[in-house]
Symmetry: D2
Subunit: 371 residues, 4 copies
């Protein structure tokens, strides 16, 4: 099989991309002399302020190193004693974090089959019979991923409906937003969309992703509404304080407190500057759309509709997968179905898409002519 030279950038994962130059510059600029450790520095304070601006509310932001750490910190803050987490069976927290949530939280993840990796109010209601039964861990937090592990996106109404259901049952809502920027861009972009999707919809805590969107390493856990569900008698302020106050200790406890935190904060400052986070995510989404467009009519490449965010999950002829992967690496998704995942990143170039698409096309043609 004759294939063109591989594209400069892979289609394996947005984690394969490096850091945006503005992010590196910000780190270099923050590398001036001494600064308070563990977040007692001006970059971190400014970053916290920037998140308050982003969400238009007095939110509390705790920076962490990575997404697993952010998720564990968020959940550790939200879980009451004997509480359990409801999520989909595709959720990163249950599939890809090596049992860390179970170990560190000491809590059960109730991971449910879900079309498109999206929870519905019915999923949550379907667990309500466990409430009050002393033989069962008590569903206490609903954790949704936005955009999902299957490249789908919750609409604002869907998130709001989930939050309403969860809160009415005394549960909190966590959003794993490792790719929240891609989801925001997919839904029309803009800060108003972000707020509608999160704080306005009723999400309690969001893991706001950075690493997959152009940082070296960094995520932010943002406490939007600190009220623990069902404690209506407490004031909003007390409630937020309470949750976020405990989270400060939990961050260190779950190993996610950076001593030279200015360097995480500086990365986020760059990302939040002039909507860079949105621009990078929009671009990644567009590159996926371009790839979809280039391949949707290619015989042998089975694709769903245009991708909302930055990933495609094509089904390929089995014989093509290995040669294509050797040429330009990507991951299997569902081996049984010959399904793989292609993912674009903030730095994917249109010419990368062209080259990759032409490689795939060449491979399918060679395959077709042979069969």
């Amino acid at each position: 099989m004759q294939l063109p030279p591989a594209p400069a950038r892979s289609f394996a994962s947005d984690n394969f991309a490096g850091a945006h130059p503005a992010v590196l510059d910000a780190v270099a600029r923050a590398n001036q002399g001494h600064a308070g450790a563990y977040g007692e520095d001006r970059w971190t304070r400014e970053c916290e302020e920037r998140f308050r601006g982003l969400f238009g509310a007095d939110v509390t932001t705790l920076l962490t190193f990575n997404g697993t750490g952010a998720n564990v910190l968020a959940l550790a803050s939200l879980l009451p004693p004997a509480g359990a987490v409801i999520c989909t069976e595709w959720a990163h927290i249950t599939v890809d974090e090596a049992g860390g949530p179970e170990r560190i939280l000491g809590a059960k993840l109730i991971d449910l089959p879900a079309v498109g990796a999206k929870l519905t109010p019915e999923h949550v209601i379907g667990q309500a019979h466990l409430i009050g039964n002393p033989h069962h861990a008590q569903p206490a937090v609903v954790s949704i991923t936005q955009s999902t592990e299957l490249g789908t996106v919750y609409t604002v109404d869907e998130v709001a409906a989930l939050c309403d259901t969860a809160h009415s049952l005394g549960m909190s809502v966590h959003m794993d937003g490792a790719r929240i920027a891609n989801a925001t861009a997919a839904l029309g972009g803009g800060i108003a969309t972000l707020r509608a999707l999160t704080i306005d919809a009723g999400v309690d805590v969001v893991s706001f992703g950075g690493t997959k969107n152009g940082l070296l390493a960094g995520e932010a856990v943002v406490f939007l509404r600190a009220e623990r569900a069902g404690r209506a008698e407490r004031t909003e302020r007390t409630q937020r304080t309470d949750l976020a106050d405990r989270a400060v200790y939990l961050r260190k406890q779950v190993t996610q407190l950076s001593s030279k935190m200015r360097f995480v904060a500086a990365q986020f400052l760059a990302l939040l500057e002039e909507d860079l986070w949105l621009r990078l995510a929009s671009h990644a989404n567009e590159m996926a759309a371009l790839l979809h467009e280039a391949l949707v009519d290619v015989p042998g490449v089975e694709l769903d509709g245009p991708p909302p965010v930055n990933s495609l999950f094509p089904v390929l002829p089995r014989a093509l997968i290995e040669p294509l992967r050797d040429w330009c690496f990507f991951w299997d998704w569902d081996v049984a179905r010959h399904q793989v995942r292609w993912m674009t990143a903030w730095d994917t170039m249109p010419e990368d898409v062209d080259v990759f698409a032409s490689g795939v096309r060449a491979a399918t043609e060679a395959f077709a002519s042979k069969n």
Copy 2:
């Protein structure tokens, strides 16, 4: 009280310093196009190779974000079911990690009073009566800090004696080497010293510090001898494989697996290049010695002997502490005794020491003349 302008760099902590320029350069150089995620990249492979060279053995190295993460990962690897960790009551793992080890390991830390924050074989032997008693967590890992939280240093013989005792009782030895470079420099420097202190002395796993020695963020857990104590019948190779193999999963589980790991690896590559790690630590140590020299004869400043590494623990007149701290920040150590901690860093300049010493001198003189 009239004080000179504060020094450019504080004496609060080596965590207040930024990153060495060579480290930042290495990160920027690694920021080229795409690379495999989660350590499947050439920087990480080279870094692992570099650690094998450093220790002169087929060691396994796992990079982490921070020291708490490194310690938890090391201990999680070493602890058998129902095992406990012996350490001093000064140990970072018991004092400064917010209960993370207890939470994540689910294990007791047996934290013992210890002169100079140094464990002795007698400490270990003193816990041996717990072995075999079903009412007690079983002492299984001896964790020592090198250099210690009190700025002292274990000699090679002391480490070897501890390892021998621990191993003879079926325990493993973990070294929290957040400042192992400072300790190595203090003991005469050089790779031979490092090896003598660690792998040759019998240490099983070391947390090899980077952040306090000029990195942005990064530590390395190095499995030197993977044999779990007391399993003599297993081959050396099997044993190392076994421990380090489990550690690979544990790293993700304890939230310490970086997706863009090349950027942690690149930092270490810079640090290990041409003994930068030793040169930076030696320099920090020398600056502490300079500060000691400058102040040892100042009335009112009570100091121990010359500092082995990069920290001093002076006792000051109580009235001086606040004004001096306002002038140039540092931490209390023992409030009851009016003891504080001054710490130098890789970037402390002789002129910083001069200015700081002259400030302290001016303050003590003003104080003396007033009393």
Copy 3:
């Protein structure tokens, strides 16, 4: 609806039954003067010996208070660092233990859909792709329930095939035998059957139930083969010693060490005397068969084939469930399908079955005439 007087004994659960008189007598006989605490007594030693006789091997037996405790102790002994447990989605450990396994073990339960609540080798093989992937908890223990939560039974061959598959993949096998007596009786009874099902089939550790089979409270964790899977180089003796040795500390750690253990041991001595365990379980099984026979032809009562053990899972007209339950309590099984669970116990009498069956018949007839 006119129903006869309710039966003397309910059909809710074998937990509703009390203790067999021989068990109470044994406790009373053991209540003589002083005896060593925490198992250092002659009843416990005799009980351990009795289990060695039962299994025909030098097994190690640790008594516990209850089934959740037994399961957690067994799994804590078997799990390596970062290990996960494979079980069915019906498993008591995942459904009915309130998240205790996740909390105490810090481990993920991989709970799989399974026909008849029975795992197959295919289930285990289907998880093998997780092995070696650092993003996933590592499948390490296969936990099966015998008889299952759905009243089905694994054959000897099925258990052996599961053990072979598990061991070949480096995993261990735990059997939750809360109703192992019922399963043994169902498969033809006798000690030979018990051994064939467990130690001969390759099960590593069994939770041997007592409470549901006529004890006040008491279960036994029996280490049949202490070899951790995949450590072929270690001798059988070393291996058993190792696992069971750690379990001694783990039992106290997981709160399951009884101080006056003679009273748990005495109960088991009575149960193991002259095959009482088998006779009680056979009787319970027979009573369920009797109930099945009495109701299998009743219109409106949907039943599967004759029950292998002591539970039936009938589907009833929805309108009948509440009145019948009010008359003689039992639990819902699947509310959506109007399925309930009827269970017999060691003390269920044929007249209880008669009365219960006649009540059900009367209710269905009343219902039919009304509709």
Copy 4:
């Protein structure tokens, strides 16, 4: 050395004693037909009512199997995220529970040196500097043992002062009352004393011991005041409900929910009937006093003052310890000082004391004549 025949009952531990006949009778009486499982039975309801009467308040009582279970359940209910427990270095939870609290709670025990194993307000205040520091687990629960592991007793005023201090710092108070009956008897006995010591003094949750005081196995966790410290804005009723509600799930989660709970409840009903708990404990205390009286003037037996409760901690000539122990078993306390522990139980008879004292006297005389 010529010693008389050993006494009928040992002086090793109150755990060596069996169950009081009234307790066994109650169990036998409860063994009638079927009863609801997991506490849904009339014995348990009556027992809960009995505890409300005992404490003169609407307390919530959860029965458990043993003391470790009771303590872990109580602490799991009280601990907020990142919370730590303050106790003495003698505390059963830190010394004798095999690391179970650390494993199951995932929390640090701050175990402090304390004269007579008694915490003071100063101990608590001395940890207050940790509050608000993100590097430290947050002191959240003060756990005291009454009577203590050293056989001392907190006065009512001492408990009240500890509770006041703890609450003023936002902490809760747990009392490990494995021997609360002995303490109550020592302080003048009576229900008024019990209430003064616990609910009136401000204790939040008590582990109310049964096993050491004549039960087969059984402890009760009593939630006296469910208010979590520092949440002044919540109503008393809400607060109690909240804590105890979560505890219901936690009991199962920590493996302490008995399926045939009526048999635990029945034991407590017997114990609480006509002050049996007090009478048994008073008797045990008196037997210790008798033993003290009999030996206080014997040369070679170093004793403190009369024992408040049921244990003595004599220092003996080293050469006597082994022969005496072989004659009538007891435990070492402090091997270095040749200190042992002698303990009486509810069933110790005056003639046991006479015989034991005469044996000790004979041994010391033989020893003296030889030296």
